[in-house]
């Protein structure tokens, strides 16, 4: 170790420590002046505010920690919906951009260029304040397929009423585990004997048969509840029964998935284009059918290019879902860093918890991605 290496490190360390020391000293002084003591005890206090939309039971008598959970679950809900739709749209558009059909390729390109170059916040506002406000009132809504009602107050869809839901869920989990075993068995069989097993058919069969058995033998029972219009007062109507998706959730999920889909489409396109032509020709020349070429040669290589940036986009989508605060969808930022912060005034604690939550989420995913990248990397000798 020489002097030239130690000095810059020491200097950086001293600067960092000084900055942190300065901040924490000031924070202490400020909090003393305002009579606040630092601590996370407030999480168990009664929150006494209401949340418009929540997945778990919640009202003002619950604790701040429960409010935090409500926000977190809402964030996860909109992220999952967004990720599913963004993936579907993204893959379709990405493939359309590779189409030999000029019209299709152009349409996809226009979509990508247009939605990518407009700020996400603007898109959320557009859907929420402009597009969804043009929908009819509940009493004037025309049913879609007789059971779906798209109104200005939200999207009303039929709900399932379950008996013994847990048995049904167990049967689905059992089917998934069984599929894993079948796949492992098929792989082993192919390596030993060279024969292929129709894994896909067996998997679909398992996924249908096991839940079906739970209906027939396990006492699972589901009935469908269709939303029915109900008059609240002379001019105010709403729907009763069924499931209500609030307009905030719809516009947020719509904007998030349309925006992120453009980036996923580009990832897909780059991935498929990244597989060299020689690979396809080589695969065809050893006698694989076009389907086999796609399944065994192109897709494994394309996925290797597609998956890392796409996961990044999923992460971006999750982080972008915090824009929900702008249209009052009760997500983590609005419920916790908004309302709870206003009520308690504990800026440092609440902002740090919120940031830590997002940080945990993204670091977990990036650790997983690093592991996955290492696993699928081509092993060169």
């Amino acid at each position: 170790m020489n002097f030239k290496k130690i000095l810059p490190q020491l200097l950086t360390l001293v600067v960092v420590i000084l900055v942190f020391g300065f901040f924490s000293y000031n924070a202490q002084v400020n909090m003393e002046n305002r009579g606040i003591t630092f601590g996370y005890g407030f999480l168990s206090q009664e929150s006494s505010f209401d949340v418009q939309f929540s997945l778990i039971e919640y009202d003002g008598s619950h604790s701040y920690f429960r409010a935090y959970l409500v926000g977190l679950l809402n964030t996860i809900l909109v992220s999952v919906i967004g990720i599913i739709f963004a993936t579907i749209i993204g893959v379709v558009v990405g493939i359309a951009r590779l189409s030999s059909n000029y019209l299709i390729e152009r349409t996809a390109a226009i979509y990508v260029e247009f939605f990518r170059n407009i700020p996400l916040l603007l898109q959320i506002f557009f859907w929420y304040f402009a597009a969804l406000r043009a929908l009819p009132l509940p009493e004037k809504a025309e049913p879609m397929f007789g059971v779906f009602f798209l109104t200005i107050k939200g999207f009303f869809i039929p709900a399932f009423i379950w008996n013994n839901l847990d048995i049904f869920i167990y049967s689905v989990i059992a089917a998934i585990i069984a599929i894993f075993f079948v796949r492992a068995y098929a792989k082993k069989k192919q390596e030993n004997q060279g024969t292929q097993t129709p894994v896909l058919l067996i998997s679909i069969g398992l996924l249908i048969i096991l839940p079906l058995l739970s209906f027939l033998l396990g006492g699972v029972d589901a009935s469908i509840e269709i939303p029915v219009i109900e008059q609240l007062s002379k001019t105010s109507f709403t729907f009763k029964g069924g499931l209500k998706l609030p307009p905030e959730l719809i516009s947020l999920a719509l904007a998030l998935s349309l925006y992120t889909a453009t980036f996923i489409a580009e990832c897909v396109r780059a991935g498929v284009q990244g597989v060299s032509k020689g690979q396809k020709e080589a695969a065809a020349s050893i006698g694989l059918t076009p389907n086999q070429v796609l399944k065994l040669v192109v897709m494994p290589q394309a996925l290797r290019i597609i998956i890392p940036p796409t996961t990044n986009q999923y992460l971006n989508l999750t982080k972008n879902s915090s824009l929900a605060a702008a249209i009052a969808y009760p997500d983590l930022v609005l419920v916790f860093a908004g309302t709870a912060l206003m009520q308690t005034g504990r800026a440092i604690e609440i902002v740090s918890i919120t940031m830590l939550t997002y940080l945990t989420l993204s670091i977990t995913i990036s650790i997983f991605m690093n592991w996955y990248n290492k696993k699928i990397a081509i092993k060169e000798k």
Binding site: K5, P8, Q9, T12, L13, V16, F22, F23, S24, N26, A27, V29, N30, M31, N33, S99, S100, N101, Y102, L103, I104, T107, E113, F114, R116, N117, I118, P119, L120, L121, L122, F125, F126, F129, A130, A131, R133, A134, K319, N320, S322, L323, A325, A326, V333, A337, L341, A347, I348, V351, S352, T354, M355, Y358, L359, L361, S362, I363, S366
Partner: protein
């Protein structure tokens, strides 16, 4: 005449297929066209569903009939190759054509035909189309926010001057080319800051920054006469000395008097807004985030463990949190970290927060470029006896930065698209102004026009940026 087999058109009866196919195709397009532009239903005599799908079926048969490979007719071959390769493609092409024809009339009528352009109040907008009078009335606010009308020439003048100074690089002769980097990295940001501070904000003439600039100018002028052997020590010590002398010795008495001299009326940052604020915020964030990101990326690849781990921690922290929480932090949490008598302007806090946030992304992009360079480049530079800084400035960074132009452009685009988020701290740029205008009781119900207008503005800005970055990429592309 050969036998006609309509299931598999071939070249022998080319014209028979061609005429029947083209006439069927044009008939289908005509039906849709008349239906959508003049609401004439040619097929109303048929039952509902069939009448609905008839154009599709006719067009599909038409396209099938003209699908003749190597016909020798140039136009036909182009059509077949591009939109009519097989049945599935033909169907999709037809659907797209019909969708465009169907959506044109409502769009046209909303945007132009039924739209209101004249007038300056809500009553003028009686048509069913867009109310562009709304945009016209509020245009000033969308561009300048709450900035006083009489003073808006200051913003215009500053932007024109800055655009002109920014374009200097295009006209630089060979002799001055080598100073361009210095100009853009150091001089231009300082000039930009002075413009914003004196002109747009109307700040007092003597403040901390002015002493610094005077000190820098004086020391550079004297610096020309100092032997190069001592130059480094000279520039480390003298500017700071002059600054301290100026501030605390020479001008100390007059400080209070001079501090009051203002050339222009003071406009506080809370009143700034609209598109000009979007430009100001993205401009400064863009300038600051690049050098910070550069140093972070070098730090992350450093051999020195403390610097490396501090950089990693810093980068991963900013990349892991959403921007909106960072802005929350800067508005509600950051004031707690400052001494009570110290106050930092809202706009400055926002610019610092966004810069640090984007710097982490820039750092990761540049790191990608640094990693992509072959080891040989480092070894070759070291074998010539170059030190760490010399190696990076002259060998590594020029190549690495060239590689990452698209990535950096994407980050900058993301930055511009993130600026509307500053509504969190109460600064209203163009999207914020739209939301304010929307709630004005005189102008209720024109949300759509506002958002369409802002979308077009942002689309133009971002699309131009991405095309420019594409050109840069092509210009600096080097084969290796």
């Amino acid at each position: 005449m050969n036998k006609l087999n309509f299931l598999s058109p071939d070249k022998n009866n080319l014209y028979a297929y061609l005429y029947s196919g083209i006439s069927l195709l044009s008939l289908s397009i005509l039906i849709v066209f008349l239906n959508s532009f003049f609401s004439l239903d040619l097929t109303s005599f048929l039952p509902g569903t069939i009448s609905y799908f008839l154009p599709l079926i006719i067009g599909f048969i038409g396209l099938h009939l003209i699908r003749i490979e190597y016909s020798g007719i140039k136009f036909l071959d182009i059509i077949n190759k591009n939109i009519n390769t097989n049945n599935f493609n033909a169907l999709l092409s037809l659907l797209i054509i019909f969708a465009v024809i169907k959506s044109l009339p409502p769009l046209l009528s909303w945007f132009i035909i039924d739209a209101n352009f004249a007038g300056d109040s809500k009553d003028a907008c009686s048509g069913s189309g867009a109310c562009w009078a709304y945009i016209k009335t509020w245009f000033n606010r969308f561009m300048y926010g709450m900035y006083p009308n009489a003073e808006q020439w200051r913003i215009n003048l500053s932007f024109i001057a800055l655009a002109f100074l920014g374009g200097v690089g295009f006209f630089a002769t060979e002799k001055f080319k080598k100073y361009l980097t210095l100009y853009y990295v150091v001089v231009y940001p300082v000039i930009a800051f002075l413009f914003i501070f004196f002109f747009i904000s109307g700040g007092p003439i003597f403040f901390d920054f002015s002493y610094g600039i005077i000190a820098a100018v004086i020391s550079i002028v004297i610096g020309f006469f100092i032997p190069s052997k001592f130059k480094m020590y000279y520039f480390l010590i003298i500017p700071i000395t002059i600054y301290i002398l100026l501030k605390y010795v020479f001008f100390h008495e007059e400080l209070i008097e001079l501090g009051k001299i203002q050339a222009f009326e003071w406009v506080e940052t809370g009143a700034w807004g609209g598109l000009s604020l979007t430009f100001i915020v993205s401009f400064f964030c863009l300038i600051f985030c690049f050098p910070v990101g550069l140093f972070l990326s070098l730090g992350r690849r450093s051999d020195l463990p403390i610097i490396k781990y501090i950089s990693i921690g810093f980068i991963e922290f900013w990349r892991g949190v959403p921007l909106i929480t960072v802005l929350f932090m800067s508005s509600v949490m950051f004031p707690m970290f400052l001494p009570e008598d110290m106050f930092i302007d809202k706009l400055v806090r926002v610019i610092i927060a966004i810069s640090l946030f984007e710097a982490a992304y820039v750092a990761e992009v540049i790191r990608g470029g640094l990693q992509a360079l072959p080891r040989g480049q480092y070894d070759a530079a070291k074998s010539l006896g170059m030190g760490y800084w010399k190696m990076h400035i002259f060998v590594i960074l020029p190549q690495a930065l060239k590689l990452v132009i698209p990535g950096i452009a994407n980050t900058f685009l993301a930055l511009v698209k993130d600026t509307p988020l500053i509504f969190v701290v109460g600064l209203l740029e163009i999207v914020g102004m739209l939301n304010l205008a929307k709630t004005n009781p005189e102008w209720l119900g024109f949300a759509m026009e506002g958002y369409v207008f802002a979308s077009i503005v942002f689309f133009i800005i971002c699309y131009a940026m991405s095309k420019y970055s594409y050109n840069l990429e092509q210009k600096y592309k080097t084969e290796r």
